[in-house]
């Protein structure tokens, strides 16, 4: 969705990126930023529907959620958190490079680095988590098998796994869209579109990327660390 907010300004034939409906470029920049923030408010409510459901079910089925949480591998969750934080830093640095008027190769370097980190996140998630979960038959809807040791908590464990896959799946979808936006930005940067006077597309895409990072900052403890890890010993 946010792609269009970027394209709005990005794809305008005018080389300065100025659109006719505005009075001046400042007004246009402010509109772009405000638009992205409102979009992020929408996103908060979009994920909010899931977080609300999660909160309620967690209160109702806590023992099951603890079992389910312990099925996840903390080390991958933590690693991915670090990967995303790194990518947020590189994203911020990409914007800063434009702001202080660094060369386009510097901007591209940071953007590509951000993309690599984003792809690394998705790769780890896919290869070492979702794929393993599939092999272990704990993906709801794809041959979920109740384990005897869960006892009567088993249905709730499946419920937890539903949440795990819906929430991380939606998050991953946002990452994929983010990678697409970054690819567009790399293209724009290569054409030398960003200067210290004009970098709003970078900035508002950065807002989106940081937002996706924040979602993960909450998903990590809420999904991986329920009920602590001391009992299971990791």
């Amino acid at each position: 969705m946010s792609e269009t907010a970027v394209n709005e300004i990005a794809h305008h034939p005018n080389p300065t990126g100025f659109a006719h409906q505005f009075e001046d470029i400042d007004q246009q920049h402010e509109a772009g930023r405000l638009g992205m923030w409102i979009f992020l408010a929408t996103e908060i409510l979009f994920f909010g529907g899931m977080f609300t459901s999660y909160t309620i079910y967690r209160a109702l089925h806590l023992p099951s959620f603890v079992i389910g949480s312990h099925l996840l591998e903390v080390q991958f969750g933590a690693t991915n958190t670090v990967v995303l934080i790194c990518s947020s830093l590189t994203m911020a640095l990409a914007i800063r490079s434009a702001q202080v008027g660094k060369s386009k190769s510097t901007i591209i370097f940071y953007l590509v680095l951000t993309m690599i980190l984003g792809a690394l996140f998705l790769g780890l998630k896919l290869r070492f988590e979702w794929y393993h979960d599939y092999l272990e038959h704990i993906v709801p809807g794809f041959g979920f098998v109740y384990r005897p040791e869960w006892g009567s908590a088993a249905p709730g464990v499946q419920m937890f796994m539903c949440f795990y896959f819906f929430m991380t799946g939606l998050h991953a979808l946002h990452m994929v869209i983010g990678l697409g936006i970054l690819a567009v930005l790399v293209g724009m940067a290569a054409r030398g579109r960003f200067t210290s006077k004009y970098y709003v597309p970078l900035e508002i895409s950065g807002l989106y990327w940081h937002f996706v990072d924040i979602v993960w900052i909450f998903l990590f403890p809420l999904l991986y660390l329920i009920g602590g890890r001391y009992a299971a010993g990791g």
């Binding site: 909010g48 830093l89 911020a92 890890r229």
Partner: protein, 125 residues
């Protein structure tokens, strides 16, 4: 209100260049936060484990929002939007919980407080 419309108010978003030191500092703080939240999970704090995890997550979020997303340098409208969105999320959570966690009250009207406290403590565990 002054005699001008939106065009007069150009200063809502200032274009602030954040020093490199701040970015690196925030980055380190976020890494420490991640280590902390993972580490705390291995210590038995009872119900405070959840509180600690959420508190650390909120602090991390604030770092990202204030510095990476420049909200510290963008007064006014941006903050209203963020606070508003979380307020609406709060509405959704609180009012749904108001139903979901009080359903059994009707059968035991004498012990309404007796019913809600165990639920709250289970949620915080």
């Amino acid at each position: 209100m002054a005699e001008h419309g939106a065009h007069g108010a150009h200063t809502e978003f200032t274009e602030h260049i954040v020093p490199l030191k701040v970015y690196v500092g925030v980055f380190l703080a976020l890494l420490i936060g991640t280590a902390l939240t993972t580490g705390v999970a291995y210590i038995d704090l009872g119900r405070w484990n959840t509180v600690a995890a959420l508190a650390i997550a909120v602090v991390k979020m604030l770092f990202v929002v204030l510095f990476f997303m420049h909200v510290k340098y963008n007064p006014g409208l941006t903050r209203i939007i963020i606070v508003g969105a979380f307020f609406w999320l709060g509405i959704m959570i609180c009012f749904s919980m108001a139903d979901e966690l009080t359903r059994s009250w009707e059968y035991n009207p004498a012990s309404w407080t007796g019913m809600i406290l165990p639920y709250l403590s289970r949620f915080l565990l």
